[in-house]
């Protein structure tokens, strides 16, 4: 069995890989949790779990989806253990909260606000597709949905964003 992350050399390679993937992992965690501190916790825990199991990884190419899966599970695990105070999205925006990240411009802030307001069922596949570049089949496998269900959610997610952003061209379902 190949074990590209075994041994001392493997440790270094895995650490380097985690560094490269960390922005994607953090952003995925952020959009799951909608909270920067929680996202950092999730990524830390996920990387630790991954570190302990790294020798099981057979190819470097499998690392990203594997790590994203761990992030997703760690996020779910965290929510099983802790209850978080729910903060209305409008409050985050109104106070220019760091929860929104530093928006480069008002346009970005406007779109970010609309994404934050999406229901989890729509936001998560959209993040996986647009930010992480997952295919429909990959999203379906990750979320345990049929291909058709994923496409429906993606379509509705964009429809909702168009509505919230006041864009023309929305299509009836």
């Amino acid at each position: 069995m190949n074990a590209p992350f075994a041994g001392k050399r493997g440790e270094s390679a895995f650490a380097r890989l985690c560094d490269e993937l960390r922005p994607d992992l953090y952003r995925f965690a952020y959009w799951l949790a909608r909270d920067r501190d929680v996202a950092e916790d999730v990524v830390q825990e996920a990387l630790l779990r991954a570190w302990r199991s790294r020798q099981a990884l057979e190819t470097e190419a499998a690392a990203k989806p594997w790590l994203l899966t761990i992030v997703r599970r760690e996020h779910a695990r965290l929510y099983e253990r802790r209850r978080f105070e729910t903060v209305p999205v409008d409050d985050l925006v109104g106070s220019e909260s760091p929860e929104l990240g530093v928006a480069e411009d008002q346009e970005t802030l406007h779109v970010r606000r609309a994404i934050l307001a999406l229901e989890d069922d729509y936001r998560e596949p959209l993040v996986m597709q647009v930010l992480l570049g997952h295919t429909t089949d990959e999203i379906a496998a990750q979320l345990g949905l049929t291909r058709g269900a994923v496409l429906t959610r993606l379509f509705r997610a964009r429809q909702k964003l168009k509505d919230r952003l006041g864009l023309a061209g929305g299509e009836e379902e």
Binding site: A15, L47, G101, R112, I115, V130, L131, F155
Partner: protein, 228 residues
């Protein structure tokens, strides 16, 4: 494929049109425009999704060398019913700041001992002065004071004798924490509290509640010298 079917497909995955959809787009200017707008929307979504990524966690690097005990500590704190207010428990991973603090203590094992002998007031004043800090009277006997290299900075390392034993105090002007942080690392307990532009870390063998009380007292006694 009709326009409705095309828009269903393009609205779900505009970057990966099938052959039928691509053919429809080529023959239908309205749907081609719909696709163009949807792809433009995706660009805006992508830009919005790319939230800034913190440099390296709030207090650490991504892959610590030790296993985490943070959630065990959290669970223990809940089970014991101890009210910890807004304190956040960490022990390990995110706490590589904690890990570094404990490692630093290991370099000076003779410093944190119970004693009634105070360090030279001049030495204490010099150490604090180098870091642009003053310590108001009343915090207890300072038995050790040194300026130590820590994470690329020179920081005051003190040992303060308290009613419950000696504690190490590190004044960390350049280490910010968003919340008070407790840790349990390498046989030590500790608390890091935000103070002024940075934080102070209090480390010892006392129960966490005692360290919290000491940290609160010390944080009230630290005075940052403007421009220090």
């Amino acid at each position: 494929m009709d326009c409705r079917e095309f828009r269903r497909e393009a609205g779900a995955d505009p970057a990966h049109l099938g052959e039928e959809a691509a053919a429809h787009r080529d023959g239908c200017p309205a749907c081609a425009e719909f696709l163009r707008q949807t792809l433009a929307l995706d660009d805006r979504i992508r830009a919005a999704l790319r939230v800034p990524v913190p440099k390296r966690g709030r207090a650490g690097r991504a892959l610590p060398a030790v296993a985490p005990r943070r959630w065990l500590a959290l669970a223990a704190s809940i089970v014991s019913g101890v009210a910890i207010g807004s304190l956040l428990w960490v022990a390990g991973p995110r706490g590589s700041l904690a890990e570094d603090l404990v490692k630093h203590l290991a370099h000076e094992p003779g410093a944190m001992v119970a004693t009634e002998v105070a360090a030279s007031p001049t030495t204490v004043a010099e150490v604090l002065d180098r870091a642009g800090v003053r310590l108001r009277p009343g915090v207890g006997v300072v038995s050790y004071a040194n300026t130590c290299p820590f994470r690329g900075d020179k920081v005051p390392h003190l040992v303060v004798q308290t009613a419950t034993g000696p504690v190490t105090v590190m004044v960390l002007r350049h280490e910010r924490v968003a919340h008070p942080v407790q840790f349990d690392e390498g046989g030590y307990a500790g608390t890091i509290v935000p103070v002024g532009p940075g934080s102070i870390a209090v480390i010892g063998h006392q129960p966490a509640a005692d360290l919290d009380a000491i940290a609160r007292q010390l944080s009230g006694a630290v005075e940052w010298i403007p421009g220090g």
